[in-house]
């Protein structure tokens, strides 16, 4: 059964006869939807980047209770025990696919707005340092991370002070070009390669030899042990077995989960911030829609009376005006989404508060965000249109006709 028998073209043509009001009202809603969608896209980009960082078949072992690799410590002895008791995959040469890793943070200068030597310094001369993850990896460290592909230069040589940098580092930071020398931990490290790990956290890291890093940073313990399972389904049994071992004090997460967890704090902050901002802005848009719709009801009082006289019920009139508000909101929602979709061309590089490390990610538009944004727009339309529609429905026929 048709809900409102009032023809839909009556509803939407009315929107287009008052073009300016429609454009202004829908424009206000579009801006709110833009903010709403953009924030969700930021959150999605962050989550997606961190979730994509890990592989399901890899397991990360860190000291129990440490949230990040930076805080963790894992002794050589523990690493050996894990390697000897976990069902770790072997490579063609019969070597275990596991990597003992040393993870530290160093500070680097971000590009842009810096006081460069060659150009005359631009007025807002800000040197923005950022914390970068330096990851010392074991011999199989690259083999278990096939998503990181060398795009320039070569791999670092084990046992040397050579490093390779992720694409986001190479693009966003000063002094990390191929052949450059970086000074940290009282040593000079030469950049011999640039790798691209796609939209992952690894793209914002610097990789070198684990043992070299341990020496340079005077570490006795590894930060983590990362190994590849022979069978990805063996994760639960492996975790159980390792946790039951009295000699071990580590915890074991799938690499995917490990990185996904690192997005939690910031993702929830972004989403709370986004919700608060959207809620505040939406009040304006809802009031705008309400004013527009009250004006529409006032202007069309005679039409409402006529429709009712012809036999349309209050319900139909109510629905027609609600639909009008919803169309208006949908229009705003679609425009807002189109604007927001352009944000996909922008990337953000910022500190992940959970790890204190710099992370590059981009605004990501997902079908869920599209759906949420449109529903949000419709909700604004509903809230803005409800009272005016109610007024339209409650008019007395004779009064409405008299007002015409």
């Amino acid at each position: 059964m048709r809900l409102s028998r009032i023809p839909l073209h009556y509803v939407w043509r009315n929107l287009f006869t008052r073009k300016l009001t429609t454009v202004l009202t829908a424009g206000g809603m579009a801006l709110v939807v833009f903010v709403f969608a953009t924030v969700l896209m930021l959150e999605a980009g962050l989550k997606q980047t961190l979730t994509a960082t890990g592989l399901a078949e890899n397991v990360v072992a860190i000291r129990k209770g440490s949230q990040t690799e930076i805080q963790s410590g894992l002794s050589r002895q523990e690493a050996s025990i894990i390697e000897s008791s976990a069902p770790i995959a072997l490579n063609a040469m019969g070597r275990q696919l596991s990597s003992r890793e040393a993870v530290v943070l160093i500070s680097l200068q971000k590009k842009g707005g810096t006081c460069s030597k060659s150009d005359p310094p631009t007025p807002p001369c800000t040197n923005k340092p950022a914390n970068i993850v330096v990851r010392g990896v074991g011999a199989q460290g690259l083999a278990i991370r096939p998503q990181a592909k060398l795009i320039e230069g070569r791999r670092f040589l084990p046992g040397s002070a050579e490093i390779m940098v992720g694409r986001a580092i190479a693009d966003g930071f000063e002094g990390v070009q191929l052949g450059a020398s970086l000074h940290f931990a009282r040593r000079d490290w030469t950049v011999v390669g640039i790798f691209d790990a796609g939209k992952t956290g690894f793209n914002s890291e610097i990789w070198g030899d684990a043992e070299q890093m341990m020496q340079a940073f005077r570490r006795l313990n590894y930060s983590a042990l990362v190994f590849q399972l022979r069978d990805t389904d063996a994760y639960a049994s492996t975790q159980k077995k390792l946790e039951a071992d009295q000699r071990l004090t580590a915890e074991y997460k799938r690499e995917t989960q490990f990185y996904a967890d690192q997005s939690k704090v910031m993702a929830s902050f972004i989403s709370i911030l986004g919700s608060v901002l959207s809620a505040i802005f939406s009040v304006g848009a809802i009031i705008g829609a309400m004013i527009t719709m009250y004006a529409a009801v006032a202007n069309r009082t005679g039409e409402i009376g006529t429709l009712r006289a012809l036999g349309y019920r209050r319900r139909s009139v109510m629905l027609a005006f609600l639909l009008e508000a919803l169309f208006l909101a949908l229009l705003g929602g679609v425009v807002g989404l189109i604007l927001a979709s352009f944000m996909q061309f922008f990337a953000v590089s910022t500190m992940n508060w959970q790890t204190f490390a710099e992370l590059a990610f981009s605004f990501t538009l997902t079908p869920i965000i599209v759906l949420k944004s449109l529903l949000f727009a419709l909700l604004m339309g509903m809230l803005g249109g409800f009272l005016p529609a109610l007024r339209a429905a409650r008019l007395q026929i004779v009064d409405a006709l008299r007002a015409a």
């Binding site: 023809p7 073209h9 009556y10 043509r13 009315n14 006529t306 036999g311 019920r313 006709l401």
Partner: protein
């Protein structure tokens, strides 16, 4: 003769304004036979529109019974009354009251949206109604592209398209020049004689009233005796 098309029994209507009761209609009693064409006249503010609105079921009396086609419409629930209007009453207004965003065809189809007709049937019915008022060639024109007389003809097509037995017209020629008014009155006469519609028309214009079978005068809320002009066709 069969049952009257419309019977009013002790119908009264009063408004409360600033704590004061204003009697607009007092104890109105009258019948209209099916197929009759009645003109309602009277000075401004005498309650003509109020009476017409009561008969058409868009207003509620303060007291009394209004029986139209054997239904006491004063007892119907609001939604039932809306459905009853959709199938039994055609409205013609002084200012046409067409939807400006709908073209002639769509305006005429509007009452048909409330029926079980499908889109194709609605189109056919509306085209036929427009043909009857001589506006087939204007079906895609919007109200602001039509003259007042043409707009009123579209409104007549809209009033007759759902084939109601009763047509109420409140000063249908009040906003028209003499020639257009003549055309509208001709059409109303046609609806009455050819289609057998019962018509109640409020008018200030004596010439318009002469087209009816009978005239009733309303003064200070009371109805005058029936003034017969021509014998009602049965």
């Amino acid at each position: 003769m069969s049952q009257p098309a419309v019977s009013l029994r002790h119908v009264s209507k009063h408004y409360l304004r600033g704590g004061q009761v204003i009697d607009v209609l007092k104890d109105i009693d009258f019948d209209i036979a099916p197929g009759d064409f009645l003109a309602l006249m009277g000075p401004s503010g005498s309650g003509k529109s109020t009476l017409l609105n009561l008969i058409a079921g868009i207003d509620q009396p303060s007291g009394g019974q209004i029986i139209v086609d054997q239904v006491d419409i004063a007892t119907l629930a609001e939604a039932e009354l809306a459905d009853w209007r959709a199938s039994h009453v055609g409205f013609i207004f002084q200012f046409y009251n067409l939807m400006p965003v709908l073209n002639a065809q769509e305006n005429v189809e509007l009452p048909l949206m409330l029926t079980t007709l499908n889109a194709r049937q609605r189109k056919e019915h509306a085209s036929l109604a427009l043909e009857m008022v001589g506006l087939s060639d204007r079906s895609s024109h919007y109200p602001n592209e039509l003259s007042g007389g043409q707009q009123q003809r579209v409104a007549i097509a809209r009033a007759l398209v759902s084939d109601p037995s009763l047509i109420v017209a409140d000063e249908p020629t009040g906003d028209l020049d003499r020639k257009s008014a003549g055309e509208i009155l001709d059409l109303l006469g046609q609806l009455n004689t050819e289609l057998g519609k019962t018509i109640i028309m409020v008018t200030h214009d004596g010439r318009a009233a002469e087209r009816a079978h009978a005239i009733r005068h309303l003064e200070k809320g009371e109805l005058s005796a029936l003034e017969m002009l021509q014998p009602a066709k049965v």
